[in-house]
Symmetry: C2
DNA sequence: TATCAGAGACAGACTGGTCTGTCTAGGTTA
DNA sequence: TAACCTAGACAGACCAGTCTGTCTCTGATA
């Protein structure tokens, strides 16, 4: 170990990472308005001035959180799981709902932060605008998978598919444990129509 | 005109109605947390003490608003429009998305208050719990229409159908003007599967 | 090698503003 | 008179964002 990074001392320089980690933990589970800056500061073990040095306002911290959410949730989880689970393009599309099924069953299921923030803050708010962009990126992943599966009208397909994804998430948030299977069945029919 | 209702004098007794009207106007468009009691009071032209005489807390005002929303939106609009537009039970089901299509095009489209409140306040909050109950009632209407159409497994059908409704609403909130048509196409396929 | 300056982190008080809910005081109508 | 209303001050909590002052680590210089 050449540089003894040792994590033990309340290591400097990692402050930004700790803030983002705490913001992710709190915002993804409880929403934006319910979590105050003081709580983020305390949860991150960071001074308030340090947070404001790295993020000039709460809004900008929220935008950074949403970027983080895209990396962790959209790319490292949804897209990765879809590609890992499916043996061919159509299977990879359907595997999204298999992943959702496991996700919905988790005790700490927190729904979709992009939808939550969009509805919580409104589409005019900077964080709402960012959410819309991140939702577009999810649709882009679906669209690419549809193109790989050589389905017709991939843009329209992706928009319909996204309706199923969002509807399933809201239904799961409402308590329907089988929402993913229901959506998957409708998704199969959608593939048929675009084959 | 027997009783000169004339709206001009800040008529008494109608205070509760004015409060509910203002709460509906504000909460349905901007959400719960973004609207303070002072704003409701001012918009209703009512004294604060009067509001608190009729509704012991903001939470209870919100619950009353959600009840109002069920009357106005779920029953007087969704159910009424579905039954009015459709000539037979299956058409009445599909007509929900025709009504949605017009709704999504309105400039003051405000999405679904039950979904908004559920995601804004969380399912543990009293208003969130009430939202879940009101969403169940929407599903019940769909279920009854499915039974009238003699479709198989009406409960499961209604849950799947509701996924399409909620997904379409969120997509419309995100900006997809054709969300209702897309959902309607998938809804047709769902009817086929339950025939 | 010893010293010292600066960067950045820490703790937490403080400001200005908002929010919910209570209270006082006075008006209007039946 | 009784019941209900209006106006608006007020208490107490909370929140975003600023600021003061202290500490610790790094790295350059003497």
């Amino acid at each position: 170990m050449p540089e003894a990074p040792a994590a033990a001392p309340p290591t400097r320089a990692a402050a930004r990472e700790r803030i983002l980690e705490a913001a992710y933990r709190l915002f993804s589970r409880r929403g934006i308005r319910d979590v105050g800056i003081d709580e983020v500061v305390q949860s991150a073990g960071v001074a308030k001035a340090t947070l404001y040095r790295h993020f000039p306002s709460k809004d900008e911290l929220v935008v950074a959180f949403l970027q983080d959410r895209e990396r962790r949730w959209t790319r490292d989880w949804v897209e990765t799981e879809a590609r890992r689970r499916g043996g061919n393009p159509e299977e990879r599309l359907l595997a999204i709902f298999d992943a959702f099924d496991e996700w919905f069953g988790r005790a700490d299921f927190e729904a979709c932060s992009f939808i939550n923030v969009l509805l919580e803050m409104g589409s005019a708010h900077p964080a709402g605008e960012a959410s819309v962009r991140h939702l577009e990126n999810i649709r882009l992943i679906v669209r690419r998978l549809a193109e790989e599966a050589a389905l017709s009208d991939p843009e329209s397909f992706a928009r319909s598919w996204h309706i199923l994804m969002k509807g399933a998430i809201v239904s799961a948030a409402e308590g329907d444990a089988q929402a993913a299977q229901r959506a998957k069945a409708m998704a199969r029919a959608l593939i048929e129509r675009h084959r």
